[in-house]
Structures are given as C-alpha cells and as structure tokens.
C-alpha cells in the first residue's frame, strides 16, 4: 500500500501550446479509491500516465510511497495498470498473460502457479486459464486484465476507464464488483473515468479535472452539493445545474430542487409533514425561505422513474431564461408542454458563483423581480 502524490505536475505536449496537465497538486490517502473525473481532453489520462511513468512530465514531481519516482521506469514504480483496451497479450493464453508480470519481475518459479491461481480465483476466471484473449467476452477480458494487475500485489492500482468497453448492464455489475474488490484488497487505487455515475458510485474522493487543471477534490457528496465552480456544477448531475446570470454573479440550483410549490411542505410540525409526505407525495419538508418562480414547460422527457421538464421562467427578472426541473414520476400533476406552473427553489439550495472567475462565492441577497 502506498500514497501517491503529485507536486506541480505539468505536461506540455507542444511547446507554446496550453498544457495537457497544468500544475496538478494532489495526494491520495492510504487504501483510497480516488477517481479522476473529467470530459475527454481534460488531461485525466495524461495525469494517470505520468503517475504510471508512461509519459514524462514537463515539470513537477510524482511521488509514490513518499519518494520521488520521476526518474524511475514504470516497472520500478510498484504499480499495476489496467488499460481501457485491457491490452491483453493476444498471442498468450490467460494463464500466460497473468504470469507475465511475475516472470518479468523475476519472481521465483515455484510461486507462479500458486499466485496465478490466487488471482484467478479472486476474479472467478479459474476455468478460463487455457483460453486465448480473443475467445473471451468483454467482461472476461476485463477480469483477466485485473488479475494480471493484482497478481504481483502492487502498491498502487491505476485504472484507465476499465469499464468503458462493457455494455451498460455489465458495466453496472462490474462497477459494483470492482468496488468490492478494491475494498477487499485495500490497494490504493486511482481510477480514470468520464462517467460521473461511476465516479460518484465508486470514489472515496473525486478529482474533477477540466483543461488540465484540478477544479475540485472532494467526496462525491462534496463535489455534487458544494461545487467549487460552474464547471463542476454543470459537469456533475444530469441534467446539469440550472445557472442564471445576475449582474456579477451566477446563481445555480439543481433541477431536483426546482419543484412545484404544491409539492413542498409549508411549515408545520415534523410529524404532520412526515404524514403529508407519505400521503400527498411531498418531496421536500419545510424548507425555510423559498424563492417562488413561474415556470413554463416547453417539453418533457419521461424517463420511467422520473420526468425531466425543460422550459423557461416566466415573469420577474429572469423571464425567458431556460431552466430544467426533475421530478419523480410517482408524484401527481400534469406537466404538459406550454403549461405554466408555480415552482419554487428553497433559498438554502441556491449556489452563487462569481461571474468572471466562475468560482463559488458566499450567498447573497438577490433581487428576483
């Protein structure tokens, strides 16, 4: 087990151009599952490859287990990596694939079989050992890649979008398995993905990256509920946070907090609200100060468990601004195109960002009319 740290890590591919990774400082914790999340081109894979030693940093340092490893080749960094394509050796059998790192690290021959069997049974691929990679399904290949990674008990796992080649159904189960697996072996893991669901579900902490810079590091709850800037606010959450420009501020609120007034309880005793929430499908208990807004629905998407309403505000200062609301399908109410409704946002749910820097700022009083 080891801690991975980067200090002012920068990678510039072409001189004069903006860096793919700029001045990244971060530190994992012992046995942590850290997720790099960002859109494509955000530098997350480059960052991972620099930690692995497959890419030479332009400046800055990579530390593994407390010592600088910049000058070490990948094989001396005590890491294991799973590639997006799995990168299994096509001409070798599953057994030969898994044993390859052991041979390369000159581990005693007598231990090979025992270690391969251990890794294979951990991932449930014991019966596939004689097959070639091309005879395996996507899910099986992914397990072989993982087995090859764990077989020599590395101190750090680096995973580069290992689930992106699986179909949606398999991805969900593989996600859960991978998470369980990481908890069991307790190896510090860095996981790269562009999928926010994966990041939120698996990460102990999430590093949100954009254009080569770290926008926020925090637990899934922190990055979702307390986004550090408008990029994080809109990158996480689907549909993304509603943003309204107001002078030198940007006001943001989540679609699931932009709700019909009738579905939010008025003040009352807690018991009363609780019973109302059951019978009347109230979605939010007493929320304190509320911001009433008129909402014209333009069209809606029915997604089974929930409805996404797209439309615009009507009247007041933000008349005409596009906003989105997300309400569970179970709750009553007809929200057809071109109907106008009374909606509200709890004032406590508003996030404020500076217009120029796009960074989060203190809550302020806002003129809504």
């Amino acid at each position: 087990m080891a801690i991975v740290e980067t200090r002012k890590l920068t990678k510039v591919f072409k001189q004069g151009q903006a860096g793919a990774v700029n001045d990244v400082n971060l530190q994992t914790r012992e046995s942590e599952f850290l997720v790099f999340l960002g859109p494509s081109g955000s530098g997350k894979t480059t960052l991972l490859r620099m930690i692995a030693g497959l890419e030479t940093p332009t400046s800055g340092e990579v530390l593994i287990g407390g010592s600088v490893v910049n000058h070490l080749p990948p094989r001396e960094r005590r890491i294991a990596m799973v590639f997006q394509s799995y990168a299994l050796y096509p001409h070798l059998t599953v057994y030969q694939n898994i044993v390859f790192p052991l041979k390369a690290q000159k581990i005693k021959k007598e231990l090979h079989k025992q270690k391969v069997d251990w890794a294979a049974s951990l991932l449930g691929i014991g019966r596939l050992l004689d097959r070639k990679p091309r005879e395996l399904s996507g899910g099986e290949r992914q397990r072989v890649a993982l087995a090859r990674a764990i077989v020599r008990e590395p101190s750090v796992f680096l995973l580069d979008e290992p689930l992106s080649n699986l179909d949606a159904k398999l991805r969900a189960s593989a996600r859960e398995e991978l998470e369980q697996f990481q908890k069991r072996v307790g190896t510090t893991t860095i996981y790269v993905t562009h999928d926010q669901v994966e990041a939120m579900a698996m990460g102990d902490r999430v590093v949100v990256l954009n254009q080569g810079t770290v926008r926020q590091i925090g637990t899934p709850q922190e990055v979702y509920d307390e986004p550090a800037d408008t990029f994080v606010a809109t990158f996480l959450g689907s549909p993304p946070m509603n943003l309204l420009d107001s002078d030198d501020l940007i006001i943001g609120f989540r679609p699931e907090r932009f709700l019909p007034s009738s579905l939010v309880a008025r003040s009352g005793s807690t018991d009363e609200i609780a019973s109302k929430m059951r019978t009347e499908h109230l979605l939010l208990a007493d929320v304190g100060k509320r911001v009433p807004l008129r909402f014209r629905v333009e069209y809606l998407e029915y997604l089974g468990a929930e409805r996404i309403l797209y439309g615009a505000l009507e009247g007041g200062r933000f008349s005409g601004k596009s906003v989105v609301s997300r309400i569970p399908s179970g709750v009553p109410g007809k929200y057809e195109a071109n109907s106008v409704h009374d909606f509200l946002v709890p004032e406590s749910e508003l996030k404020f960002f500076d217009r120029t820097s796009e960074k989060r700022v203190e809550a302020k009083a806002i003129q809504w009319q």
Partner: protein
C-alpha cells in the same frame, strides 16, 4: 454487347500476357528438359530423363545447389536481423525519420543492375573503396588487401551482402507495417508489468508480428532463390563456381552454353522447392487471417 462478353474482352489482355510471359516459357521448360534441344538445333527428340541424370551427376550442379541454399539462407538471416533492427528504430517518431526512411528505401527503387555495378566497383580488387579505407585505418597492408570477389568465402559473403542490401528495404517496410499494427497499449502494458526492452521484444513484439515476419521470409526466399542478377554482375558464379547459384547456372548452361535442354532441366529443380515455399506462404497467410 453483353456484360459477359465485355468482361471477357476486358480480362483477356491480362490473361494473354500472363500466358505468354509465364505460361508458355514454363511449359517450354518442361518440354525442353525432356528433349535434346540446343540453340540452333532444328529437330526435337524425346530423351526422357537423360538431362536430369547428367545434371545430377555434374559436380557444378551440386555445388550450385549448395551455393543457392547458402546464398538464400544467408541473405534471409542478414535481412531478417537487419530489417527488424531498422523497423524498430524507424517505428517511433524523431526528427529526420522521413528522410531516413527514404534513404533506406532507395536500394529497392534503384535499378538492380546500376546498384550492383556500383557494388562491383566498391568491391573491386584494385579500386575498392573498402580496401582504401581499411588501408588508411591500418587494418590491412597496402599489397595484401582482401579479394572481395576473388576469394571463395569472401565472394559468397559479398554476394550475400549485396543481395541483403537490395532486399532490406522491402523487408523493413513489411515489418514496419506489422509493428505499427500493434496497439500502443500492449508494449506499455508490458512496461508496467515489469518487462524490459529484450523481454518485450522477444516475448511480446516478435511473437505478435510473427505472421507478418513469415510472409516477409517467404517472399524473401522466393525472391533470392530465383534471382541471378547480383551473382551475374558481381562474380559470374566465380571463383570456381563457389558463388554459382541455380538460376545463374541454368542461364550459363542453357543460353551462353547453348544447351537449352540441360539449362531447362536445371531450372526445373527450382520448381519443387518453390512450390513447397509457396504452400507454406499460403498457409501462413490464411492462418494469420483467422487469428
């Protein structure tokens, strides 16, 4: 005109060409090999396998068969090692890669005879630049220089060297194509797994390009085994037939020696070997398609 007729019409030049240039001489070779044809002879008498018998008894023929095999295998080894090194070196980007690739391709595009005549001067007994350099570096004495084309062993090494020089670009291009087809992830995975350069080369890279390597080898074998240009220009098979190969022997016997029948018999000895090589080539090709 129907489509069918048009098709036949369009195809016929190619078929006529192949028949005239390959088919007719091939059949003629078999007919001559069992006859008594000489240049300027008017009749034809069937003599059965007499030509083959006399060819097999000739020490020159046995020597040529042996030389052909040494020449072919020697060239393949040099080319294989050389083109693997070149392909590995030219795979990654660096400044001037395009220019170096161009230089390496030159021997393939230059006319064979011109290139080989250049080599004849380089290896000349009096004017050899190689010897001039060796003398000035004090590796050899001025009046005791190596006879590149005059000493049996050196002559064989010389023709192998020049033939390799010709074949190297072709083989390098094929191997480069094979190397580029390996996804970048695979050698990277090997690097992370702990493999160094040699382990990656021998356990991962070479096994992965093996189907393509075997295609390069088989093409190379056919090319070298049937080629006589280099031998003809550099040594004419000498000294004492120590660099004589089957194609050049067939030419000297059949055309220059005017014994068409025996020349044909010699060249027919190439057929079974080439058929075997072609068979392996097709097998390898179809196997790598499946894989």
């Amino acid at each position: 005109m129907t489509n069918r007729k048009l098709g036949v019409l369009m195809f016929s030049p190619a078929i006529i060409y192949v028949l005239a240039v390959v088919g007719v001489p091939f059949v003629l070779a078999f007919i001559y090999a069992v006859g008594d044809v000489k240049i300027a002879s008017v009749g034809y008498h069937y003599v059965g396998l007499a030509n083959f018998r006399s060819v097999l008894q000739s020490p020159t023929f046995r020597r040529s068969l042996y030389d052909s095999i040494v020449f072919t295998i020697g060239t393949q080894i040099v080319v294989l090692v050389g083109s693997t090194i070149l392909a590995l070196a030219l795979k990654d980007r660096f400044t001037g890669r395009g220019f170096i690739r161009f230089l390496i391709l030159l021997p393939w595009v230059a006319p064979v005879s011109l290139g080989t005549i250049g080599w004849k001067w380089i290896l000349d007994s009096i004017y050899s630049v190689i010897n001039w350099v060796l003398i000035h570096l004090h590796f050899v004495k001025p009046f005791d220089t190596p006879m590149w084309l005059g000493d049996p062993t050196l002559a064989m090494l010389s023709v192998i060297g020049v033939e390799s020089w010709r074949l190297l670009p072709f083989s390098t291009v094929i191997l480069l194509a094979g190397l580029t087809a390996i996804p970048r992830d695979i050698p990277e995975a090997a690097a992370v797994d702990g493999a160094g350069f040699w382990r990656t080369l021998f356990r991962i890279t070479i096994p992965m390009i093996l189907p393509i390597v075997s295609v390069a080898i088989l093409f190379g074998v056919i090319f070298v085994f049937t080629d006589m240009t280099v031998v003809y220009i550099l040594t004419r098979g000498g000294p004492y037939d120590t660099t004589q190969v089957l194609p050049s022997l067939a030419f000297f016997t059949g055309i220059l020696g005017s014994d068409l029948a025996e020349g044909a018999a010699i060249s027919i000895f190439l057929v079974p070997i080439l058929v075997a090589v072609a068979y392996f080539m097709l097998r390898v090709a179809s196997r790598s398609e499946v894989g």
